[in-house]
Symmetry: C2
Subunit: 474 residues, 2 copies
């Protein structure tokens, strides 16, 4: 049939409303019809098990999800992260041991680890003096003599590979409102660094300098300064073009200006003090390892609330992306780590990239980082896209969160609070996935950073969590 013959079947002109795939509309337009195209998707992407779970939860009288979520969100917004000190991981982090290596993301065994995580483990074992070189380290890592555990199982977080070993100094951040703690190593800078899987002598030496010189200096300066109010500082950096995940220039600046007047008072050779300040000035990501434990102790206070569908953990190990729900404490729900879409350093491209990795997505979980991209339009020079995209990213996140932060506000959105408290029901129902911006590590061990960009978490992790939640509660 040609167009004329098709149209002759109708008494009047065709006026159609097309839901979903624009392809169907194109056919109708081809027949001369007047078509309104509605960008519609079935809830939960049409996944039957997920739809059933959503329906059962909505109808159930057995669990008061709204009340549970209100409490979870209240706790997230009421968090008061304070940097109270620096300690040695072995003496500070619960359950830390000399034969234990912590890593980012959900649990993973040595044989399954991606390149940059293996590289960081190799570096960590050499740094601890447990191996003399990469070969020895790999053998040791593959043996029974070394145990692995996620940072998240020890109240800790680690960017990228997230490797923490016993001798490493760690920031101690206390959630003053609830008394719980979080820990994170000190940031090493960009380029060839352990967290991106590099383990050359230069990397190990820098880690040793951080342990022996930088950490004691900062620890003593912080002692003179007193606890550092991270809630206030994160609120400030959102007025200064940072979002606290991949843009940390303002945050690092504030840490320097707050500590410097106390740091100069220390009884150290001035060359050492100068080197410490110069290192901080040269490393705009220094703040990341403070924003991450601040986020971690903020959301941890909301974990373990019976009946809550709020996401309290998101983390990736380079192979899997995992989440935890407040109401399903202890359980990870995982899917494959995504491929990062972003900008590459000169000489590198997508073929070099490891998959999405690191605990830094704890910032998004707590309502800043990618969720606050609208506050940091200049970040697009680092992760790609346009300033409009950055604003749209934040605006989208209001659809999957239950609250707006009172402390963290975005000037360009007329000081609207950042979207906070991700509700797994909303993620599944809308199909809108949490926005994450991230660094990109080289896929091979030993190389380091190759770029930065945006990444989508796997849908199935959210769906599986929802279904498990419905099974437990209904």
């Amino acid at each position: 049939m040609n167009t004329k013959e098709v149209l002759s079947l109708f008494q009047s002109d065709i006026v159609a409303i097309n839901l979903g795939l624009p392809g169907f509309a194109e056919n109708l337009v081809g027949f001369g019809a007047d078509v309104v195209n509605v960008d519609w998707q079935p809830p939960a992407g049409g996944n039957l098990a997920a739809l059933k779970a959503l329906e059962r939860l909505e109808k159930s009288a057995r669990v008061d999800i709204e009340a549970a979520n209100a409490e979870a969100v209240r706790r997230i917004l009421a968090a008061e992260p304070m940097v109270i000190g620096i300690g040695k991981a072995l003496d500070t982090v619960p359950g830390m041991a000399k034969d234990l290596v912590l890593h980012s993301g959900p649990p993973i065994s040595w044989d399954k680890m991606c390149g940059p995580m293996k590289g960081a483990v190799i570096g960590g074992l050499i740094y601890e003096g447990l191996a003399a070189n990469a070969k020895e380290a790999e053998e040791l890592a593959a043996s029974e003599k070394i145990r692995f555990d996620p940072c998240h199982h020890h109240n800790a977080v680690g960017p990228m590979a997230g490797v923490m070993t016993a001798s490493m100094p760690v920031w101690i951040v206390e959630n003053k409102a609830f008394g719980n703690m979080a820990y994170c190593t000190l940031n090493e800078g960009l380029g060839k660094v352990l967290r991106y899987g590099a383990y050359s002598d230069e990397v190990i030496e820098r880690l040793k300098w951080i342990e022996k010189e930088l950490a004691p200096i900062l620890s003593k300066a912080l002692e003179l300064h007193g606890p550092m109010d991270m809630k206030s500082i994160i609120a400030q950096i959102l007025q200064m073009g940072d979002e606290g995940h991949n843009r940390n220039r303002a945050g690092t600046s504030i840490i320097i200006r707050e500590l410097a007047p106390h740091l100069v008072m220390l009884d150290y050779p001035k060359e050492k003090l100068s080197r410490a300040l110069a290192f901080l000035n040269a490393n705009d990501h220094f703040f990341l390892n403070l924003s991450m434990p601040s986020a971690k102790c903020s959301v941890d206070a909301a974990a373990g609330i019976e009946g809550s569908t709020i996401i309290t953990t998101m983390a990736r190990n380079g192979v899997e992306f995992g989440i935890k729900l407040s109401g399903l404490s202890g359980q990870w729900f995982t899917g494959p780590s995504g491929v990062v879409d972003g900008l590459y350093l000169p000489g590198f491209g997508p073929k070099d990239a490891a998959r999405d990795i690191g605990d830094s997505v704890i910032t998004e979980t707590a309502g800043f980082g990618g969720f606050a991209m609208a506050a940091a339009p200049a970040i697009v020079k680092f992760v790609g896209g346009s300033p409009e995209d950055a604003i749209a990213v934040t605006e989208n996140m209001y659809a999957i969160t239950n609250a707006e932060s009172e402390a963290y506000r975005i000037p360009v959105l007329d000081f609207r609070g950042t979207p906070s408290g991700i509700d797994v029901r909303k993620v599944v129902e809308t199909g809108i996935l949490p926005a994450i911006n991230t660094g990109i590590a080289h896929k091979e061990p030993g190389i380091g950073m190759v770029g930065a960009g945006l990444v989508k978490p796997p849908e199935n992790a959210f769906r599986d969590a929802l279904i498990a939640f419905a099974e437990k509660y209904v």
Copy 2:
């Protein structure tokens, strides 16, 4: 006549286009007419002398204004302000003398000065040891023994009252691209400070400490650091929520983090180094006195170009607002200083306010400050309005400028360059006045800051400049 009778005069329904005042349209609408209202204003606000000047300039073949302005704008955009040192005003600022007091804005005599400028002069004379108290200082100021001159006549700029005396330390900023210099005192902080007209013991003691301790420390730290590239730093702060006039938190942070590693190397008692760093950390406007001379030496390079209608100076002394054109070097065109519309500190209100004062509007003249407000949406918490207003302010300024900065870019406007090079013809023709944000001083001497806000410069200064320009060139 009633509506019906009026309408009966016409053969068909009335359809009208109303230009300008909406009041006329309302009458027609009252008669049942269909009215389109066009927000139209006659060029130059209908001022005949100004219209004539614009017309004569457009028709004249005697002067190539476009070429002259292109050169002026080229020089403004090519400026490379570098902070190269700190000197004593007497030894550094051209023409400075012990009996000379420099002030902000166009020339003014003691008897005509506003309250805060009188207060700052009193403080300056006490600070110099030329008077023991306010009474003595007032007598001396009114005598022939003291001379007054605008900062602008000595390659200098000063915020608010802008008082500079012989012993004061000054920042030395060189425009590396053209070799010209600019000078400015060191910022004293907010509240009770000389530039806002306060002169209590606390104010004088702080000025002495700045002279004896802070300036030498910063001078030596800067020497170790090397010249500070202000073009790069101003470009950065526009990505960090500052606009370099009334929001300077990022700028001050960058100065601290750049200087701190060198400052700790100095052979000073550590208490003094700590006090210097603590003072900078407590004073977010410290950067203003660096951004101002950077702007000054940038636009000064564009002064004195025959045939150019680009504005190279705007400045206020609290009584008069004055401008200078590149093509009419040396001549001030003035009008009454405006009343600032803004936010007040607790306990103060519009009745306490002095009129618009200070050389800080040099930042707008150079294409940042108020002209870059879109980069600093959080500034509205200080000067009033909404973030949308801040964006609109910048967008408006493209209508009266001839270029967009290559170095200074605004993320939220998709990294568009800031509006730069104000053309007095465009100001007069459109009636759009340069946007200025500013602090508010108390109108009485001796009190200090009471608020901050936005202010309109007087239209007639721009009109008079244009008419004088036409007289000279056509």
